[in-house]
């Protein structure tokens, strides 16, 4: 036990987790906005937008996040000279947020789309049968049920995003957990098990409440069929 306390005293473990939480928050916000736009494009009646949305999702979700992160730093920042902030560390942080957002947007889009797919066709048919026009049918009948159906997959995406925020190391964010752990392991290889368990348990503690909350929410909001 004393080993754990010494680790926590010597290194800023909580600070590292705080960086990951910030990455997750901003990444999730960006992913949600872009993902919703993509989902709307993919379920729209316009073939060109559908095609663009599908292409984005099929491309991005098949590229490793690590490749996206490295690309952002080496190519977009290094080669094209795109600067998001004058502050050096802040610039890498923002690039990592962009990487996380761009990558997970594809999965947010799929989550929302799978939510729409949970709505039986009979619901839309019933809405039309009682004379609702398209927008009203979508707003009152289809979309509310679709969002309820999307809660569970969105929660899964959020958990994946939290875990993937460690990949920000590939975008040179040096204060987040995986880099912090690497440094600690280098300096205190004698405490390697304690160091790993500290970080691992930290993530378990963060992930499990999100999972429980999502499951609770999705079963509470689920449309009983």
């Amino acid at each position: 036990m004393t080993e754990f306390l010494e680790i926590l005293r010597q290194y800023d473990v909580l600070g590292a987790f705080w960086v990951n939480l910030q990455l997750t928050f901003w990444g999730a916000l960006l992913a949600f906005v872009v993902g919703t736009v993509l989902a709307v494009m993919r379920i729209s009646p316009l073939a060109s937008l559908r095609w663009a949305g599908t292409t984005y999702v099929d491309l991005v979700r098949n590229i490793p996040l690590t490749v996206i992160m490295v690309f952002l730093v080496l190519a977009v920042w290094g080669q094209l000279g795109v600067v998001l902030s004058q502050d050096f560390a802040r610039n890498f942080f923002l690039l990592a947020v962009v990487g996380l957002g761009v990558y997970h947007a594809a999965f947010v889009c799929e989550a929302i789309r799978s939510g729409v797919n949970t709505v039986p066709v009979g619901q839309a048919e019933a809405a039309r049968a009682i004379g609702l026009p398209f927008l009203a049918a979508a707003r009152i009948v289809v979309l509310p049920q679709a969002f309820r159906g999307a809660v569970a997959p969105l929660g899964n995406t959020l958990i994946a995003l939290l875990k993937n925020s460690t990949v920000a190391a590939a975008a040179s964010v040096s204060t987040e957990t995986s880099t912090a752990m690497k440094t600690m392991l280098e300096f205190r290889p004698d405490y390697r098990w304690e160091i790993f368990l500290t970080f691992a348990v930290g993530f378990v503690v963060l992930v499990i409440p999100i999972g429980l909350a999502t499951t609770w929410l999705s079963s509470r909001l689920a449309v009983k069929r």
Binding site: R50, T66, L80
Partner: protein
């Protein structure tokens, strides 16, 4: 297109849709053109940079060896993950409480810990304390980390695969006089394993993508090779583009196989054969195991 939201359009809506379609296409193509124009303005479409990223030499010494290492790690990890998954998936279905409990803790733990953290730790563990036993610490760290994470996901697939079978399957087994264990082994598991095959193939996409994390611990896979190649030619944009295309081709092929499998196998099981989403625990898992995450 989702059939829930739209009726078949009439003549007027069809005219509107055509107009909207053109506008949408113009916007999308405009964005693409703008990107290409910017790249051109910065000299990134220069043929020399692209030739340096795609000449035979770079394939021979960088991409192909990198790809080989990526596939090697993914192959080992896949076999290990399936073994791990079946063992712990059965463990979670065991009638013995201690076994069930132990398997659950293992599976939930490794599903919650980021793969990168495991890789970094295992790399140090193998490289420092097990140096004599493990010859190639980065490779071993990549493989073991992928096995632990993806094996846990597959364990969940096994469990939910059994849980998703129609109840009649188990009842039929019991009613012809099999014990619960025999029913699990000879009636439920075979069908569950077939039903989960497409989702396992989809999980291979995750394995392949996560193998690129090996870059961060110095494993010479595709991404790292592309990066090293770029450090010589000063063209990371071009080489990383090639690496990304390689990953997309591999993963699209895998997803295609998964969908084909899902369609072909659905007649051979009473479970539901469907491909996974390619991120984190699959949706099928969430649906089947609402009580715990």
């Amino acid at each position: 297109m989702s059939t829930v939201l739209f009726d078949a359009p009439g003549p007027r809506s069809r005219r509107y849709m055509q107009a909207g379609n053109v506008v949408g296409a113009v916007v999308v193509l405009g964005i693409l053109a703008w990107v290409l124009w910017t790249l051109h303005g910065k000299g990134q479409l220069d043929a020399g940079l692209w030739r340096a990223a795609t000449n035979p030499r770079s394939w021979q010494y960088y991409y192909l060896p990198g790809l080989q290492n990526t596939l090697r790690a993914a192959a080992f990890a896949t076999v290990g993950a399936v073994v791990f998954g079946v063992i712990f998936g059965m463990g979670r279905l065991s009638p013995v409480r201690v076994v069930r409990w132990f398997s659950s803790v293992i599976v939930e733990f490794f599903r919650a810990v980021p793969v990168l953290l495991m890789m970094v730790f295992l790399n140090v563990l193998f490289g420092v304390s097990l140096k004599d036993v493990v010859p190639e610490s980065a490779f071993a760290a990549v493989v073991v980390a992928l096995v632990l994470y993806n094996g846990s996901v597959i364990a969940e697939l096994v469990r939910s695969g059994v849980g998703n079978l129609p109840r009649g399957q188990k009842e039929a087994g019991l009613s012809i006089g099999l014990t619960a264990g025999q029913t699990l082994r000879s009636v439920e598991l075979p069908q569950a394993l077939i039903a989960m095959l497409p989702a396992v193939v989809s999980q291979l996409v995750v394995v392949l993508k996560d193998s690129a994390l090996g870059q961060l611990i110095g494993y010479q896979e595709t991404l790292r090779s592309a990066q090293i190649l770029a450090s010589g030619g000063g063209n990371p944009l071009q080489t990383l583009f090639v690496a990304a295309v390689l990953f997309v081709i591999l993963n699209v092929a895998l997803s295609w196989v998964a969908h084909r499998l899902a369609r072909r196998l659905s007649s051979r099981t009473s479970g539901k054969a469907e491909a996974g989403p390619g991120i984190g625990p699959s949706l099928a898992v969430t649906r089947a195991a609402p009580a715990e995450v």
